[in-house]
């Protein structure tokens, strides 16, 4: 599904040049669950942003389903992103002014799904995530675990092929964290490819493969399953 070759990303300020990704190469197959680990500043989040088509690499190649997307323009990236990729963030990133239902509905609106169909799909998803009773609540009224379940519901409501998770349990206690990891595992078993950035060895053990990074490069790869 994903193949990157010699990917480079350099952040420049007036005086300092930071190499975030240094000729990074790897591949992720359809249906895989990959964990990316490494110390802070090793380039994990930069990698996730590039894989999620939120950021451009400076050089190298990035094939998504066999199509070179490294230098797609903004419109094409947004289009590919909304059809194929779901995001789960550490800080949930729900929109405070929208209810649970409206938050989950958002990706479908941008996909141009009709109102009746949207309602059906959002309700199905909320039911599946066991937060249907909270549909009219605002994010501030929910616990961390519930907010992350809403975020996962939002990420998968448009049935993406790939889910990118940036420390999805980082702001949760262990029981809520485990619940979210179970949710991700379920989604993976149903065929969704997952790439998860994490600091937690415990969470990483849910994956099939762990890629360890240091200074913008892959150091080791452990295959777990």
């Amino acid at each position: 599904m994903i193949r990157i070759n010699d990917l480079e990303k350099i952040y420049k300020t007036e005086e300092v040049e930071t190499i975030a990704l240094n000729k990074l190469s790897f591949q992720v197959n359809d249906g895989e669950f990959v964990a990316v680990m490494g110390p802070s500043g090793c380039g994990k989040s930069t990698l996730l942003n590039i894989l999620g088509l939120l950021d451009d690499p400076d050089s190298g190649s990035f094939l998504f389903n066999g199509i070179e997307v490294a230098h797609f323009n903004e419109r094409k990236r947004a289009d590919l992103r909304k059809r194929n990729i779901g995001f789960v963030f550490q800080s949930f990133n729900l929109i405070d002014e929208l209810t649970v239902f409206e938050n989950v509905e958002l990706p479908l609106i941008y996909l141009g799904v009709k109102s009746d169909e949207r309602k059906k799909r959002v309700e199905e998803m909320l039911d599946k995530m066991q937060i249907m009773h909270r549909r009219n609540h605002y994010p501030q009224q929910l616990s961390g675990g519930q907010q992350q379940r809403v975020a996962v519901a939002r990420a998968v409501v448009n049935k993406p092929k790939l889910i990118l998770a940036d420390e999805p349990t980082g702001n949760l206690d262990s029981s809520n964290g485990n619940e979210v990891m179970e949710l991700l595992t379920d989604l993976n078993e149903q065929g969704t490819t997952i790439i998860m950035v994490t600091h937690s060895e415990h969470d990483a053990r849910y994956s099939h493969r762990i890629i360890r990074m240091l200074d913008g490069q892959t150091v080791t790869e452990n295959i777990l399953a």
Binding site: L54, D55, S91
Partner: protein, 256 residues
Amino acid sequence: MLKNYFKIAFRNLWRHRVFSFINILGLTVGMTAGFLIFLYVRFELSYDSFHSNTDRIYRVVSDIKTPTEVIKAAGPNGCSLVSIKLSTQNLPKTIASIENKWNALIPARPFSYYFLDEFFDKQFRSEERLGKLFLNFSVLAIIISCLGLLGLASYSTMQRTREIGIRKVLGASVPNIVNLLSRDFLKLVAIAILIASPIAWYAMHGWLLDFAYRIGIGWWIFVIAGIMAVLIAIATVSYQAMKAAIANPVKSLRVE
């Protein structure tokens, strides 16, 4: 301590320099307009006040036919202003004759005169001046409002940076975001138009009542003014909206 406060205040102004610039500019234009209005009102209030008995000037209309009768009616203790309809043939002679009669009947009051058409002309000149003044102040008001709107737009965009980032991650396109941000401001403009139209109609109607021959106030005037207001607002807000929509969502989400 005070020095420290100023240092931090200046740093903040510099960090949001576009926003600060817009606000300071808006404040400057607003204050200038305020001063101008104050000076104008002061000038208008002082106008004509050099007549010692301003409140005792009257205009008398009567159907008396001959100048002698008119002047008699005015009398030595009567009014100081008399309107007379004259034939324009041999005007200097007629005026000289009126003056003679006036001086004979009311020698205590000096004779001075003016023609009504000249008076009307002068009055319309003041309307014209008022029109010009209104135009200038309207332009000023529009500039101030635009600056206010621009400030509001940049503030609101700054507040919604994270939301815009999230929406972009979820697949919102640049037009989606521009639409989202502009829509809110267009609502404000629509409300402003709804409030302003009846007030403008009422004021215009009152003003037009002063004229014997006047134009009607068509509904289309308000439609055109409304469309212009919307276009100006779109032009004002779109820059901020575009800037926010084009920005990289990674940056806005990282701020958190």
